[in-house]
Amino acid sequence: MLSLLVFMPLVAAGALAVLPRVPDAAARWAWVAVAGAELVLVVAMALAYRTPAPGGLTFEQRVRWIPAVGTSYHVGLDGISLPLAALTCVVFLACAVYALREAHRPRAQAALFLFLQTACLGVFAAQDLVLFFVFFDLSIVGMYFSIAGWGHGDRARSALRFFLYTFLGSLALLVAFIGLYLASAPHTFDIVELAANPPLQGSPTTGVLVLVAALVGLGIKTPVAPVHTWLPPAHTDAPTIGSVVLAGVMLKLGTYGLVRVVMPLLPDAWRAAAWVVVTLGIVSALYGALVALAQSDFKRMVAYTSVNHMGYVVLALGAAGLAGGSAASAASGAPAGGAGSALGAAAASSQQLAVMGAVTQMVSHGLITAALFLLAGVLRDRTGTYAMGPGSTVSGLGRLAPRWAALLAVASFASLGLPAFSGFVAELQVFAGSIATAPVTAVALLGILITAALFLRALQHLLTGPARAPRGGFADLRAAEAVPVVVLLVLATAIGVAPQPLLDVIAPTSAWITSVVTPSATDAVAASVAAPAGS
């Protein structure tokens, strides 16, 4: 079932590419149909999902592939990958519907995005490092062609920059994976086996070196400041749906890699480097927010808020590797998750709360940013520009296009973390968990204030003032444009109002990740005693 989910778009993409003389309209609707079927499939899987044992998987499938190097076709889902796979299907369906109006080579575009969907789902499903890497790289290739083929502005340069930058990152990731393979005994690329018996425990130097390589690779993809500079030009010149997939799904591949690969496979190194990761997260969150505040280009601004929002994810994941918070009190006698815990049954420790927040934030950011990029696409479609503020020829759109304006306002408030939207649930968990673990992370709270300022300012620039648009009018949203945005925002609201079903899925896997990486008081003592003996 999972393999069907992963490869159905690829088969459809192949058919669209190979079959001669498919009419454009048929290609567009075929894409919508396949993306819709994918969504139905993933919803069915979510309904059939049963929480696996800690560290285990559901919908697991393993087939011999290249046994000589210890790699196999191994896929499966757990409480972290399932929500992200569902997010992927939602975002790609939104793109398919939005692209119903695409006039430029729609058949090729449909094939390309179906291919991309397989690549993204493949990353979330992969339980083998080689498989993970293959899908990870294919997603970069697909996005390169999307920007170069359907972008605007200086698209060739931006596409090349995107490709080289992120490809460089993936090479660093490959080095890390090979390091893990060589350190494992018996040699294997299998993530589940590696997690059950993490290599490089007790060899801190090598472990940290492998961790650094993995952090470089995944950090570029996320992106973490200061290796984020491929993102703004890629977004500015990417086609609308390219930006949607890039921000909505592909940025998560980086942070998902941290949760899926780095944390469980290199727990010792993660603990050792936790402060570095936390610092990177804080810097990204504040730097992304500040640079976004200075933008006068709406799409670039949204791109930088992604650096900010993904910074919260990195921050929370780093905090999970730190000691402190309520875990200490739990370790000192009170039963975890019992009446003595501040968090009740939902989370046993502040670290787990942070990890849950990180995963919720990935889903939430995917939905909300996708909606914002779709609305930015409409802005450019009607006016030919993303410029806003002083010197811009666009203002007063609230009067010209009330529906677009209303949705933009809702999406902006969702993105700035207003309650009743998913971002609030995510950020509340991230901050509560992180600050309780490491109080210094409270400085990142300023990020949510700055994002509030920049979104309100953008609304003021675009929606109020005299009604002006460079091409005379500004036609309000059409159905194909409005429906995907509305659906994305409704989902974000649903998670914001009733987060419990999502959190119930995320919680057990987060608890497992946390139990692997969080240093407990006894572990710390044991490690300090065992380390000299082991080396």
């Binding site: 200075a294 968090l343 309650p419 509340l428 600050i435 409270a442 003021q460 987060p499």
Partner: protein, 671 residues
């Protein structure tokens, strides 16, 4: 039981969401729907106040969205629901544009207020708290075609959200140090988390209730429609800011510093903002400053632990201030202005509004037997038990309140000016005034004759409430409230007869002096043309004792400083906004030119290295190969030269070789 409480919250939320989302197609139905919803909301609130239900739902953690009605929550819930109903009725007659969106937002706002009043755990409280901020942005910025009103909404949202960060901190503190996320768990958190939680709650409350040093957002918020101001100030966001402190007095008292901080912030705000109010020339600005000042007494009450005293002050202020903002809104609709100088005699021209406003202003002044007189004395009585300094400062604030209320009273009830200026000139004059309601122009003509019943009924009801609610602070009701609200050992908020008489006399004397001075000074200016008298009305508005002092530059500067709300907004811009924007600009430039150029430089270095390697490959490596080939060719040429075809050369060569061989053979044995 729990469904009752959910209905209290969800009924206005759902109706409001439908109205706000569907928009224009519901414009006609919006006002009736909102009135019916608000009326049902009041019935539900009263029922809930009697039955004390509780309800719960998980939010992030189990029990995160727990709601319950305790005596304090019940009082707040009923106050809030009553204010919502009256304001909605008034707005039905006053608001004519985008009605569906307006009433929708108003109802969502009231739902958030109801949730704040009943939330027992931090996540739910934070949810409602931030939603109120966002709704206030949308409602203040509701005349959104003017860039300034949206800017004012932005100011309100950003300032209050800065305080809200404190609640995020409090959640983290509870996770780290408390047995749970319920508000009741916070006082038993271990230090330093208990102090963090207290600081966070204090920051959030100060932000929302516009205490010093962030009072300025309330001034900007006056750009919104008057019904919004009425609701904001009386029984929702601003008032709920102080309600949170009443709710968390145990937490404040559990730290060594938070209670005293709250008490002093409250009493200093009461005095300083009272002076600010006295300096205003715009009726709504005067009322706004007086809100911060009056709610300062509630903050003071929370600081000294007198929940019942604070609650009564909160309720009495709610009735009084809702009344006054609605009256100001009515005049704004009728006259297109809210400048005090242009409102001279307005109370005589429209006697219903005039009488109601007079009751409200008299209550604000603290005149016996009206509500704020007794309510404020309750707080002051409790303060006297704790610290004489707090008591005296509070009394000073009360005198200032009497002065600014009397100032407005004298203008509104004074004689109408002889020369009635045309609305056109007034409007022009207003344009220069700070932040006037632009859509007022549209309202002027249809309402020139008077106000409808929809506006009159809420005014009369609120005037009655403002008159009698002081009874809550007097025995025997006060004793029962104390029993229900105060924890053991709280200072009693029951004023003695002496205190009541003293504050009543102070208020009476100040009011009499100010009105007398006001009338004496305004009589010569009435003969001049009021529309050109902005400077004379300014001097008439100032109640200075001597002419010399009035003319001194220091006084003018003090007056300007107070009138400009102490320059707080400018200070916030200079100290916070401009540095942050500057830093953002520098970082963005660095991101584009520095960081990105670094990346480009690496790429450029790679290509130039490649080019160098290519050149090396072409010239050196390939050159070496070519030179080997050339050497081989040269050697070949050399070898070819021996093949001349001339036999005598071959023989000569053979002879040389043989000779050499013979020599070698001869030498070999000896070698």
């Amino acid at each position: 039981m729990s469904s009752l409480l959910w209905a209290v919250v969800l009924l206005p939320a759902a109706t409001g969401a439908v109205l706000a989302l569907v928009g224009h197609r519901l414009d006609k139905a919006a006002a009736p729907a909102a009135v019916v919803t608000a009326a049902a909301g009041l019935v539900l609130a009263v029922t809930a106040a009697v039955l004390h239900p509780s309800a719960g739902a998980p939010l992030v953690v189990a029990g995160g969205l727990d709601l319950a009605v305790d005596p304090l929550g019940a009082l707040m819930l009923v106050t809030s629901a009553s204010a919502v109903l009256l304001v909605v009725i008034f707005a039905a007659g006053d608001i004519h544009e985008h009605r569906a969106r307006f009433f929708g937002l108003l109802l969502i706002f009231s739902a958030a207020a109801a949730t704040t009043a009943t939330a027992t755990a931090l996540p739910g409280l934070l949810l409602a708290w931030e939603l109120m901020g966002a709704c206030s942005f949308a409602l203040i910025g509701y005349p959104w075609r003017q860039a300034r009103t949206v800017g004012s909404g932005t100011t309100a949202f950003l300032v209050t959200r800065t305080g809200d960060l404190g609640l995020y901190l409090a959640v983290a503190a509870a996770v780290a140090g408390a047995p749970g996320l319920a508000l009741a768990d916070l006082p038993v958190a271990h230090e330093p988390w208990r102090s963090v939680a207290a600081a966070g709650v204090l920051a959030a409350a100060i932000g929302k209730s516009a205490q010093l040093p962030v009072s300025f957002w309330l001034s900007r918020a006056m750009d919104g429609p008057s019904p919004v101001s009425a609701l904001l100030h009386s029984a929702t966001m601003v008032a709920l800011g102080t309600f949170l402190l009443l709710r968390t007095t145990d937490l404040l008292a559990a730290t060594s510093w938070a209670s005293a901080t709250a008490a002093w912030v409250g009493v200093v705000t009461a005095v300083v903002l009272g002076a600010v109010a006295l300096a205003q020339r715009d009726l709504k600005q005067l009322l706004a400053a007086s809100t911060a000042s009056q709610l300062g007494y509630v903050v003071l009450a929370a600081g000294i632990g007198s929940v019942s005293g604070g609650a009564v002050q909160l309720v009495a202020h709610a009735a009084t201030k809702a009344l006054l903002f609605l009256a100001a809104g009515a005049w704004l609709s009728l006259l297109g202005t809210r400048q005090l100088s242009a409102l001279r005699g307005a109370g005589r021209r429209w006697p219903v509004i005039g009488v109601c406003a007079a009751v409200g202003l008299a209550s604000l002044a603290g005149l016996p037997p009206l509500s704020l007189w007794a309510a404020k004395d309750g707080v002051l009585a409790a303060a006297r038990e704790v610290s004489p300094a707090l008591y005296l400062a509070g009394l000073l604030g009360a005198a200032l309140a009497a002065a600014y209320a009397a100032k407005a009273l004298a203008v509104l009830l004074g004689p109408e000016p002889q020369i009635t200026t045309s609305p056109r000139t007034r409007e022009e004059e207003d344009r220069t005034g700070p932040g006037d309601h632009g859509s007022a122009t549209a309202h002027w003509t249809p309402h020139a004759g008077g106000v409808g019943g929809l506006q009159r009924v809420p005014l009369v009801v609120l005037a009655a409430a403002a008159a009698v609610l002081g009874a809550l602070a007097l025995p025997p009701v006060a004793q029962r409230l104390r029993g229900a609200l105060d924890r053991a050992g709280a200072p009693p908020a029951t004023p003695s007869v002496g205190e009541l008489v003293l504050s009543g006399v102070v208020a009476l004397v100040v009011v009499a002096v100010v009105i007398a001075a006001q009338l004496r000074r305004s009589s010569p200016t009435t003969s001049s043309v009021p529309s050109s008298s902005s400077s004379s009305s300014y001097s008439s508005a100032a109640a200075g004792p001597t002419a010399e002092w009035r003319q001194s530059g220091l006084r003018t500067r003090l007056q300007d400083w107070l009138q400009g709300w102490l320059g707080l907004e400018a200070a916030a811009h200079a100290l916070v906004v401009r540095p942050v924007v500057g830093l953002a600009t520098v970082l963005a430039r660095w991101d584009d030119r520095g960081l990105d150029r670094g990346v480009s430089a690496v790429a450029a270095a790679a290509t130039s290295t490649a080019r160098g390697a290519a050149r090396f490959d072409d010239r050196r490596v390939d050159g070496a190969v070519r030179s080997v080939a050339a050497a081989a060719r040269a050697a070949g040429r050399l070898a070819r030269r021996s093949q001349s075809g001339q036999l005598h050369r071959y023989y000569a060569a053979a002879a040389v070789v043989l000779l050499l061989a013979a020599v070698l053979l001869a030498l070999a044995p000896s070698a």
